[in-house]
C-alpha cells in the first residue's frame, strides 16, 4: 500500500518536473549537442547556401585552432584580463559595499543606485562616453594626467594601453552587481559578532579580518566564481571600443569566436572555440572550488 503511494507520488513528481525538463532540453541540451556536432564539421558560408556541402572533419577544427597564433594571442589577452580585472573588481566592489554599509554613510540609496547604474546602462552608450574620456587629444583622462605633468597617452590606439583601458572600463561598468551581492552578504552578518569583537578589544582592521571576511566566505566564493565566468566571456567592451585592435591587443576568446563565426562564417570553427572556452572555464571553476575547499578545511 505504502509502496504504491510512493510510486504514485514519484510519478506525479515526474509530471511536475517535465515542463521544466522539456524547456531545458529544448533550449539547452539540444543546442549544446548540435553545437558539439557542428564543431566537428567544416560548416561555413558555402554550407549555409547548401548544407550538403558541410564535411565531417573530426577534431580538425580543434587542431587548427590550437595551431592558430591568434587563438593563443586571444587566450593570453583573456587571461590577462581575467587576472587583472577579476581581483580588481572584487576589491572595488567589496570596498564600495563596505562604504555603503558603514553606519556613517549618508544618502545610501542614492549611492547604491549611482554605483549600480553602469550595470544596467547599455554598453554602446557607455562606450561612446568612454571613448571621449579616453580620447588622446580631447579626453578628460589625458587632461587630468596633463595637469599632473604626464604626457598624453593614446589609450585605445596604443597596444600596451588598450587592454588596461578596457579593464578600467569593464570594472567600472560591472562592479555594481557584485557590490549589491556583497551588501546582502554584509547585512547577513549578525551585529552581535561585531559587538563581541569590539568588547574583546578588536580594532577596525581586526573586526574586518576576523568577522567580516569569514562572514562573507560563501558570498566571496559565489562572487569570485561568477566574476571569473563573466570575465572569461569578455566581448562587448572590446567589440565596441577597439574591435580587437590595435595589433590584436584586445582580441579576446569570445571576440575571436565572433570573428570566426559571424565575420568569416566558419560556424564549425566558432563552435569548436566555444567548446574550448567551456573547457577552460570549467577548469578555472574547478580549481577555484578546490582552493576554497582546502581553505575551509
Amino acid at each position: 500500500m505504502k509502496g504504491s503511494i510512493e510510486r504514485r507520488q514519484a510519478q506525479a513528481g515526474r509530471w511536475f518536473v517535465l515542463p521544466a525538463l522539456t524547456l531545458i532540453g529544448v533550449f539547452f541540451f539540444v543546442p549544446v549537442v548540435v553545437g558539439l556536432v557542428l564543431s566537428l564539421t567544416d560548416f561555413d558560408i558555402y554550407a549555409i547556401g547548401d548544407p550538403s556541402i558541410a564535411r565531417f572533419v573530426g577534431a580538425g577544427n580543434y587542431v587548427e585552432i590550437l595551431r592558430n597564433p591568434v587563438f593563443w594571442k586571444a587566450l593570453g589577452n583573456t587571461l590577462y584580463f581575467v587576472f587583472a580585472s577579476g581581483p580588481l573588481m572584487m576589491i572595488v566592489s567589496l570596498a564600495a559595499a563596505l562604504l555603503l554599509n558603514a553606519k556613517l554613510a549618508r544618502a545610501r540609496g542614492f549611492f547604491r543606485t549611482a554605483y549600480f547604474l553602469p550595470v544596467v546602462t547599455t554598453i554602446v552608450a557607455v562606450s561612446i562616453v568612454w571613448r571621449y574620456l579616453y580620447h588622446p587629444h580631447y579626453g578628460w583622462l589625458n587632461f587630468a594626467l596633463g595637469k599632473l605633468g604626464i604626457p598624453p597617452i593614446d589609450w585605445l590606439g596604443d597596444p600596451h594601453w588598450a587592454m588596461p583601458a578596457i579593464i578600467v572600463l569593464a570594472v567600472w561598468k560591472n562592479f555594481g552587481y557584485n557590490m549589491l551581492i556583497y551588501l546582502a552578504g554584509l547585512q547577513s552578518i549578525p551585529e552581535e559578532l561585531y559587538e563581541a569583537a569590539h568588547l574583546d578589544g578588536a580594532g577596525w582592521w581586526g573586526r574586518f579580518v576576523h568577522v567580516t571576511l569569514p562572514g562573507l566566505g560563501p558570498t566571496m566564493l559565489f562572487v569570485s566564481i561568477t566574476t571569473l565566468l563573466n570575465q572569461f566571456q569578455l566581448f562587448a567592451e572590446p567589440y565596441v571600443m577597439t574591435q580587437g585592435g590595435p595589433l590584436q591587443s584586445t582580441m579576446t576568446l569570445v571576440l575571436f569566436l565572433y570573428e570566426q563565426g559571424f565575420r568569416w562564417w566558419r560556424m564549425g570553427m566558432a563552435a569548436a572555440i566555444a567548446f574550448l572556452l567551456f573547457l577552460i572555464m570549467l577548469t578555472g571553476t574547478l580549481i577555484q572550488l578546490r582552493l576554497s575547499r582546502e581553505r575551509t578545511r
Binding site: 567544416d42 561555413d44 558560408i45 558555402y46 549555409i48 547556401g49 547548401d50 556541402i53 564535411r55 588622446p136 587629444h137 593614446d154 590606439g157 585592435g245 590595435p246 559571424f262 565575420r263 568569416w264 562564417w265
Partner: protein
C-alpha cells in the same frame, strides 16, 4: 508578419467589418544602408505615386551591422524583396543562393541600359557569366594631392607612369624635407598593395580563385615597388591610427599625396581651411606602363533581388525606377554618391566639383577584386602580412610565401568544391557574352 496580417484580415471579415479600409496594394520591402537607406524613403514615395498598386516599406540599416544582418536575415528567411548590397559582397550572396539572377529581367527591361554603365563596376555583379546585381552608385580610389607642393618640386600634374611618379615623389621629398613625406599609404590598408598588384597584371588568385598567387612575379614586382616607397622614406610606415587626423596632416603638408575615395572629397572641402582649398586636387592613379595601366578598384553598391522574395515583379519595378537617369541624378544630389550611369554625370552638381573629374576618368579603368566569399578575409591576411615588410622587419619574399600558405589553407574548401563540381565558375565564353 504576413501571416499575422492575414489572420487580422480573416478576423475582420469574420466580424463583418472587413473590406472598407483594407489595402489591395502589393507590399514590398527594401533595405538600404547608411545614408542611402535614409534618403531612399523619399524616392520610394515618388515611386508609389507612379505605381499606386505597390507599397514600399523601406528599412535603413547601419553599414557596420549590414553584413551580419543580411546574412542572419538570409538564414532566418527574412530577407526583404530587394536590397542594397555592397558590390564586393555580391559573390558571397550568390554563393549563398540568397539572390536571384537578373539576366531574364534585364533582357526584358527598357529602363536599365546595360551599355550606360562603367564596365569594371558592372563586372563586379557578374558571377559565372550571370548578372546578379544592378549598379546603384559607384566609387573607386584616386590620388588626392597637394598641387602647391608638387609645383614646388617642379611638377604641374601627377606623371602617369610608376617610374616618373616615383621620380616626382623623390622631388617632393627633397622639397619638404625631414619628417615630411611624399605620400601616405596607411600600413593597415590592403587596398594599396592590391591596386598596385592588379595594375601590374597580377591576378592575386589562380585556378578559379582556388589557389593563392601572391608569389607570382607580377605581384612580387608591384609589392617591391610599394615597399620601396617606405624603404626610401617617401611614405611613412604608419597605420591610420598613428596618424591622428589625416585632414590636418594633409593640410600641414606632412604628406603630399594620398590614395582614397570619393567620400573624402566632401571631407576635404569641409575640413581644410578655405585658403588651402585651391591647393589640393585629384588625379587618376598612375600605372606601371602609363595611364592605361593605372587601374583602380571597382567599388559601390548594387541593387539585388532576393531569391526568396514573393513579389519579384514589383520589386524589379522598384529597382528599375531607382536606376532611371532622373532618379539617379536626384539620388546623387541627396547622397553625394557617384551615379552608376555615365550619362548622369553631365548633371551640374557633379561637374561643378572639379575634384570629381578624376573619378570619371578613373571609373573607366576599374577592375573588380577577386569575386569569392573569402576575399575580405584574404585581403585582411594580406594586410597583416604586409605590415612586417612595410616596417622593414620581415623580408618581402618570406611574407609573400607565408601569405600564399595561409591563403591556400583558407581556399581548401573551394578546391574541394571545384573537384566535386559544386563551384560556380566563370566559363570564358559566357563571361564574354555577359560583358554585354
Amino acid at each position: 508578419m504576413r501571416r499575422t496580417g492575414l489572420a487580422v484580415l480573416a478576423l475582420l471579415a469574420l466580424f463583418g467589418c472587413g473590406g472598407a479600409a483594407h489595402d489591395t496594394r502589393t507590399t514590398i520591402r527594401f533595405w538600404g544602408m547608411g545614408r542611402e537607406g535614409e534618403v531612399v524613403s523619399d524616392l520610394a514615395r515618388d515611386f508609389e505615386r507612379e505605381n499606386p498598386d505597390v507599397h514600399v516599406i523601406v528599412q535603413g540599416i547601419p553599414w557596420t551591422a549590414a553584413h551580419a544582418k543580411l546574412l542572419t536575415a538570409h538564414v532566418g528567411r527574412s530577407l526583404p524583396d530587394c536590397f542594397q548590397l555592397g558590390n564586393t559582397w555580391v559573390a558571397e550572396f550568390t554563393a549563398l543562393h540568397a539572390i536571384d539572377p537578373l539576366t531574364p529581367w534585364l533582357a526584358a527591361s527598357r529602363a536599365i541600359d546595360t551599355h550606360d554603365q562603367f564596365p569594371g563596376v558592372w563586372d563586379t555583379n557578374v558571377m559565372g557569366g550571370v548578372v546578379y546585381g544592378v549598379p546603384w552608385y559607384v566609387d573607386t580610389r584616386v590620388l588626392f594631392y597637394r598641387r602647391d607642393l608638387l609645383a614646388r618640386a617642379g611638377y604641374d600634374s601627377i606623371p602617369q607612369s610608376w617610374v616618373e611618379w616615383r621620380r616626382a615623389m623623390e622631388a617632393v621629398k627633397r622639397v619638404v624635407g625631414k619628417d615630411r613625406y611624399a605620400i601616405l599609404l596607411p600600413a593597415n590598408e590592403w587596398t594599396q598593395p592590391v591596386i598596385f598588384g592588379l595594375q601590374n597584371g597580377a591576378t592575386l588568385l589562380a585556378d578559379h580563385d582556388t589557389r593563392a598567387d601572391f608569389e607570382d612575379p607580377a605581384f612580387e614586382q608591384a609589392f617591391a615597388f610599394f615597399l620601396g616607397l617606405f624603404r626610401d622614406g617617401l611614405a611613412p610606415p604608419v597605420t591610420n591610427n598613428e596618424i591622428a587626423n589625416v585632414y590636418q596632416e594633409f593640410e600641414r603638408g606632412t604628406f603630399a599625396m594620398y590614395i582614397t575615395g570619393p567620400w573624402n572629397v566632401g571631407e576635404f572641402r569641409n575640413r581644410l581651411a578655405p585658403e588651402h582649398q585651391s591647393a589640393w586636387t585629384t588625379s587618376p592613379l598612375p600605372g606601371p606602363r602609363g595611364a592605361a595601366s593605372g587601374i583602380s578598384l571597382a567599388g559601390g553598391s548594387s541593387l539585388v533581388l532576393s531569391r526568396a522574395g514573393e513579389h519579384k515583379q514589383a520589386a524589379w519595378r522598384f529597382i528599375e525606377y531607382l536606376c532611371r537617369p532622373e532618379v539617379q541624378a536626384r539620388f546623387t544630389h541627396l547622397t553625394g554618391d557617384l551615379p552608376a550611369r555615365p550619362s548622369v554625370w553631365a548633371d551640374t552638381a557633379i561637374t561643378k566639383e572639379p575634384a570629381l573629374a578624376a573619378f570619371k576618368t578613373q571609373l573607366e579603368r576599374v577592375v573588380s577584386t577577386p569575386k569569392l566569399p573569402e576575399w575580405e578575409e584574404i585581403a585582411n591576411r594580406l594586410q597583416d602580412q604586409a605590415e612586417g615588410p612595410i616596417r622593414g622587419k620581415v623580408p618581402a619574399d618570406s611574407a609573400l610565401a607565408r601569405l600564399d600558405r595561409d591563403v591556400n589553407a583558407m581556399l581548401e574548401k573551394r578546391r574541394w568544391l571545384l573537384e566535386h563540381g559544386k563551384l560556380l565558375v566563370e566559363r570564358p565564353a559566357e563571361a564574354r557574352m555577359a560583358q554585354r
